[in-house]
């Protein structure tokens, strides 16, 4: 079997069993990148030398028994909004085009401690603002299933890199669906954990109260394994939660008997592609056949999730992005005569149009006279949305639905109509507003051969239920990759 086809945990096992060396695996994936990266553009920064050097170090650690993690020696890609000491971290923005952090984000540190080999930093929508990876200042990433289509976003580079086997797994961040939606478009598995499960320290903030780091991988086992490695309380992040139930791999059990699954009627009503609806409902039947109990119900306030999300996320973003001013690091406009001119020019030239749009929206909803009408009202709706989920979880173990209304759109289609792009987030954003965990996994392809994503949403701290159900579905579904799907046809 081709070395590249292994999942992260399979490769970890082969490395541990000395069937494959870390160097071999790293070289194989670097060769793959060499062949396909020009076509897909998954990465902003590649660190071949660093990866090979790290591979040697990690091999020693494995050999002398100091590195025992299932991820030891497995090459990983990191979304470019997580700080990596000494390695360019750009958020796919011109304004951070030359930014080399002095420290490493907590989640990446945890992977490093587990013996991960970091290949580089993946492309994304600028500052994670976008759903297609087309707002990147460094050009879009292409969907490896069909390069005329987008990979989704904002963690499009991470999702595409996993799908294209340009890495074994990747880290992404999810503020309104930015892990789950690209996972869905690229036919891989992606999970956003409960808010506070993974430290945000070193994650360059978009919407601080919504941002959460999570894994993207080839299967559910990889997701559980990586999440187990990066979860944990961090005293450097005040919003980080102390939890003792982060042994996520213990939930990899093929058993959904008696599990109650709620299916929101609104998620299948209007605006959803027939193929998507069909594949997702078919997936629900698979779980039903395995013993799960399905029930349709009405989830309230679905249509308010989008305006609520864009009000809160943009308000926080407008403040979070103030630090990019040309003073301390990053891009500074040339030939400025005074301070405010430097601020204006650096920010005007450094930020792309989508980021500027959101900064303006966010500044507006926080300005005096509008704060109560927009920002405060959005917080109230957020609380109501959370309440709606609480009620649902008093009846159901989880909620099942699509991850996005459509499969991956064509390149260039979305940016011309931002409202349509925002509407594409309808199934994912309320999960962030309520701080819940959500997982997206492939459940087939549409008529054009593009993957469809199934989303499972759980109550806070109930990742394990999601992992269990996703794992059970995956066992029934069988292998799902670009090659396996093409072979089947």
């Amino acid at each position: 079997m081709d070395l590249l086809h292994y999942t992260a945990t399979e490769l970890g096992e082969k490395i541990k069993a000395k069937e494959v060396s870390v160097k071999e695996a790293t070289e194989a994936v670097l060769d793959r990148i060499g062949e396909t990266e020009e076509q897909y553009h998954c990465y902003v920064t590649l660190d071949k030398e660093g990866a090979l050097k790290k591979a040697e170090e990690v091999q020693k650690g494995i050999d002398d028994g100091t590195l025992t993690s299932p991820l030891a020696g497995v090459p990983v890609a990191i979304k470019d909004n997580m700080c990596t000491e000494g390695m360019l971290t750009t958020c796919s923005s011109k304004i951070l085009g030359n930014f080399v952090p002095t420290y490493t984000s907590e989640a990446v540190k945890k992977l490093e401690a587990a013996g991960a080999v970091i290949l580089g930093k993946t492309n994304m929508d600028e500052f994670a603002m976008g759903s297609t990876t087309e707002t990147s200042a460094f050009g879009p990433t292409k969907n490896p299933w069909n390069t005329e289509h987008v990979p989704g976003g904002s963690s499009g580079g991470s999702a595409a890199a996993v799908a294209a086997e340009e890495c074994y797994y990747a880290l992404g961040s999810d503020t309104g669906g930015s892990i789950r939606q690209p996972a869905s478009y690229c036919g891989v598995v992606g999970m956003k954990p409960t808010y506070g499960t993974v430290s945000r320290y070193g994650l360059i903030a978009y919407g601080s109260s919504l941002d959460q780091i999570g894994p993207l991988g080839k299967d559910v086992r990889d997701i559980a394994t990586v999440l187990e490695a990066i979860a944990g309380h961090d005293s450097k992040d005040s919003t980080s939660i102390e939890r003792k139930d982060t042994d996520f791999t213990s939930a990899l059990i093929d058993d959904v008997k008696g599990m109650k699954i709620g299916i929101p009627r609104d998620y299948f009503a209007k605006g959803i592609d027939a193929d998507v609806k069909d594949r997702v409902l078919a997936a629900s039947k698979v779980l039903e056949e395995k013993g799960a109990i399905l029930e349709e119900f009405d989830l309230p306030l679905v249509e308010y999730a989008i305006p609520t999300y864009y009000t809160i996320a943009d308000a926080e973003a407008s403040s979070n992005l103030e630090r990019f001013d040309g003073v301390k690091y990053g891009f500074r406009a040339e030939d400025c005569e005074e301070l405010h001119q430097m601020y204006k020019r650096s920010r005007s030239q450094g930020f792309g149009p989508e980021v500027k749009r959101r900064i303006m929206l966010g500044s507006f909803v926080l300005s005096s006279g509008y704060y109560d009408a927009y920002y405060l009202k959005a917080l109230k709706v957020k609380a109501l949305i959370k309440k709606g989920f609480d009620e649902a979880f008093s009846k159901y173990d989880m909620i099942l639905g699509p991850c996005a209304p459509t499969t991956a759109p064509r390149l260039g289609e979305s940016l011309s109509d931002p409202m349509k792009m925002y509407l594409g987030d309808i199934y994912t954003i309320s999960v962030n507003l309520a701080g819940l965990p959500g997982i997206s996994l492939p459940c087939g392809t549409d008529a054009n051969g593009l993957p469809v994503g199934l989303q499972l949403i759980g109550n806070i701290f109930e990742e394990k239920k999601l992992i269990k159900a996703a794992y059970a579905y995956e066992q029934a579904r069988g292998a799902f990759s670009i090659d396996s799907v093409k072979e089947a046809h």
Binding site: N81, M82, C83, T89, C91, L96, F99, P101, T102, Y103, S105, R200, Y201, G202, L203, I204, A205, G207, S208, S209, S235, K236, D237, S238, T239, A315, E316, S318, S319, E322, R323, F324, D325, V327, K328, Y329, L339, H340, Y343, S363, L366, S367, S368, Y371, Y375
Partner: protein, 476 residues
């Protein structure tokens, strides 16, 4: 007849808290490091860094709130105040607007006209900014983030003060309360206590407030007094001329003795305050509140009353000693070591005050230890050194906190208790000063002073002048 005006004053006082580390990171708050050496990703606003509240800051803020009779907010938040300036690395300051930690308090002040309550509107916690240094030669500005993230509390009074005297009494009251709490050293000159004065005038008897201005950059009690007087006159002149007062922020220039407008209400910025999503709500539990309440120290008023009861020292001394927490601590600890209260008080009132004045120092910076002062008093009581040597030793103690015993021995300053040697010297002095002897015999009492002086000089001061005096009388 000229109209009579009343001045209405409210104060915003910033106090730098005496924590070892900054409000949202573990960096040192110590003064004097090289630029940007007390910094980390958090206090330099690096992308991805996050704030974590230093619990000591919360405890100090609550302690000050309790000392000023405030309601403590049991569920509070931090808010972001957004504005662009290079000394503010995130371009927002983490402060409190919506739910400040303390509200609705008051302090009692005493002035010549009597006792009065000044209301405290609120106290909130916030972070200090860095420091900009403008390099004229290079045509560049540099920024030092060592002060960025140093914890501050801002104490906002009600507009309850009516004169510079009341303002000074209020500031002095705050200073004493906070110093006694150990929450800050509250030095106006060094900026650990800063006051902005909001001032308006109105005709006596009016019920509506006039238009106010805010005066910044006041770093001494003197500057505050001058600024208040100057601003009152300026506003009255504007009103009398029919121009009226503009609501604006003004900067006081103490060397010129005048203020100038910084910005008016029209260009007031919209700070777009909103709760900081990186920080969790501040929940003050019953336990925390109770533990801080229990730790509240004896404040000045109670201390003065106790001193009157316990120590036989003049009321004036009590007032001076308790006017500084440091001095009161030295007094009590020295007395606890067995020294006589009156003697301790004398050292503080005379030599200590003299040296403080001479060296332009704040009593908070007194360095000598109670142990050494007690020992010095003991040495003089045992007549091991005389009073002039004691003063000499004290001066060294004041500067370097030396052990007086060791110092006296090292420098050979011990009084000579060998009466034989002393008598021999006195005999020589008498023999060498026939004129003085004769004067004494002729009834000139003063002449004995000259003989004592000569003896002290010959003994290099290491003898007791009273003893010398009595031996001379005996010999003559």
């Amino acid at each position: 007849m000229a109209k009579e005006y009343e001045t209405v004053i409210g104060l915003e006082v910033h106090v730098e808290l005496a924590t070892k580390t900054k409000i949202f990171c573990g960096c040192s708050t110590a003064f004097g490091g090289d630029p940007n050496t007390h910094t980390c990703p958090v206090c330099t606003g690096m992308p991805g860094s996050l704030p974590v509240l230093n619990k000591q800051v919360l405890e100090y803020a609550i302690a000050v709130g309790l000392a000023t009779n405030c309601d403590i907010t049991r569920y509070g938040k931090f808010d972001r105040k957004n504005y662009f300036y290079p000394d503010n690395p995130q371009n927002y300051q983490i402060s409190q607007l919506y739910l400040p930690i303390c509200r609705n308090g008051y302090v009692e002040i005493e002035t010549e006209t009597g006792t009065k309550k000044v209301g405290i509107h609120e106290i909130h916690m916030e972070e200090d900014a860095g420091k900009l240094i403008h390099d004229e030669w290079e045509d560049a500005s540099l920024v030092d983030y060592n002060r960025s993230g140093v914890p501050l509390i801002e104490i906002v009074s009600e507009p309850d003060m009516r004169s510079a005297e009341e303002v000074n009494a209020y500031l002095d009251k705050l200073r004493l309360l906070i110093q006694y709490l150990g929450a800050s050293d509250c030095k106006l000159q060094e900026g650990s206590m800063r006051a902005d004065v909001n001032l308006s005038v109105r005709e006596k008897g009016a019920t509506e407030f006039g238009t106010r201005t805010e005066m910044k950059n006041l770093n001494s009690f003197r500057a505050i007094t001058h600024a208040i007087e100057g601003e009152r006159e300026r506003q009255i002149a504007l009103i009398e001329d029919g121009i009226g007062v503009t609501q604006e922020t003004r900067r006081w220039d103490d060397t010129k003795g005048e203020s100038y407008a910084m910005r008016s209400k029209e260009d007031a910025q919209d700070y777009r305050y909103f709760p900081d999503p990186d920080l969790v709500p501040i929940v003050v539990s019953d336990e925390l509140l109770e533990s801080i309440r229990k730790k509240q120290p004896e404040f000045r008023t109670e201390k003065m009353a106790r001193y009157k009861e316990e120590y036989d020292i003049p009321e004036y001394d009590i007032e001076i000693i308790t006017n500084s927490k440091r001095m009161a601590d030295i007094f009590e600890e020295t007395v606890a070591l067995g020294a006589q209260p009156k003697k301790v008080s004398n050292w503080l009132m005379v030599e200590t005050l003299r040296l403080l004045k001479e060296k332009e120092m704040d009593p908070a910076d007194l360095r000598f230890s109670p142990e050494h002062l007690a020992k010095l008093i003991e040495l003089t009581e045992k007549k091991e050194i005389n009073s002039s040597v004691a003063k000499e030793v004290f001066e060294v103690m004041f500067d370097e906190d030396v052990d007086p015993q060791a110092y006296v021995e090292e420098k050979g300053l011990k009084a000579v208790n060998d009466e034989g040697a002393l008598r021999k010297t006195i005999e020589e002095v008498i023999a060498n000063n026939p004129q003085a002897v004769e004067d004494f015999h002729n009834g000139k009492e003063k002449a004995i002073g000259a003989l004592v002086g000569q003896t002290m000089k010959a003994m290099k001061g290491k003898c007791d002048p009273a003893q010398v005096n009595s031996i001379i009388r005996e010999l003559l």
